[in-house]
Structures are given as C-alpha cells and as structure tokens.
Amino acid sequence: ELKVEQNPLFLSMQEGKNYTIYCNYSTTSDRLYWYRQDPGKSLESLFVLLSNGAVKQEGRLMASLDTKARLSTLHITAAVHDLSATYFCAVDGIYNNNDMRFGAGTRLTVKP
C-alpha cells in the first residue's frame, strides 16, 4: 500500500530564514504534487513533479523529486509571513491503480 509521510508536521520559522519540508513515499511513483491550503480553504496546487530529478521553482518555493530515494523536498527561501499555510504533498500511485495518497500536511507559521 502506498504511504506518504511528511515532516515536520509543524514548522514555526522567522521571516527571512530558509527551511525544507520533506515528503517520503513508500512505493514506486513518478508523479508527485505539492499543495498549499489556507485555513478553511481548498487545496491549491503548487507544483507537479513528473520525473526523477525534476525541480520546479515559484517565488520563494522550490520543489524537487528524487524517485530513487522516494523523496521530495519543498524548500522555502527567505520566508515571508504570506507563506504561512499548510503544505501537503501527494503521490500518484500510477503503479498502484492510480490511487492518490496524501501526506498529513506541514503547518507552516512564519513569524515577523
């Protein structure tokens, strides 16, 4: 069964600092998503990573995928308050009946 683990689950950081969120998954897949969720809102798609070594950047966020290690990272550079939200990774189990599995989310709080 495909399992997805994120860490940390809670992250409090100062503005201007850098940090990385990790997403590990248990079975072969080459399609990984990162989402952002603001309180009580829908999950907004941030990145879709489709192949080993894929790297995508949008503003202060950069996501990468290592399919051999079954690991994706979401790196935050020079955090600002507007980045405070919950970030989810999700993996498409394309070798597992197309089941999609979500991590539990990382609640990021950026403090002034």
């Binding site: 919950t86 539990a104 990382t106």
Partner: protein, 116 residues
Amino acid sequence: DTAVSQTPKYLVTQMGNDKSIKCEQNLGHDTMYWYKQDSKKFLKIMFSYNNKELIINETVPNRFSPKSPDKAHLNLHINSLELGDSAVYFCASSQDSPLVNTDTQYFGPGTRLTVL
C-alpha cells in the same frame, strides 16, 4: 489500521441516479471533510463537519448532501447525478476546526466516481 477509509473505491453509475460515498475515521478527530478533485488535481473543499455541525459549505449544488451519523463518519449523498460530477472525491479528518487553524489532515484513499 487504516486511519481514514472510504467506500466504495470506484463507483460507476448512470446519469440521474442517486448514490452515496461513505467515510470513516478511527483517529478520534473532531472534524471531517469532503473534497472534490478536478481534472487538474485541484482539490476543492465541499463540506466539513465539526462535532456534528456543518461549519463550511462551499457553493456546491443542493444535490450534494453530507450526513454525519456520528463523529467518526461523514457520508456524502449525491442525488440526480450529472456527467460533471465525475471526479475523485476525498474524505479527510483533522483534530481541530478548520476555522481555528489548519491542522494536519489525514486523507482517505479517494473514491473515483464516473457518471455515464
């Protein structure tokens, strides 16, 4: 030891039918959610329940109705199914109310609904 489970996993039905999707969580969480995932993998929140009260209701058609017999279950009933209802529906649960803060959420495996 599945934390959030959904049944059925796949549902194929004719237009106009009425169907239900069930969701159960064994985490003791207070809040449960239903999301609809579109073709671009965007997850739109549909409903959430906290202590048996509906606290979020995005603008979804009246044909969709959530029902929570107890804190561990949140079922989704859909009447008069339409072609556009075809999607993957995800159930999730969290400890806290989403209006207080976005706590970590545990998602079910999804139910792929196909309306013919």
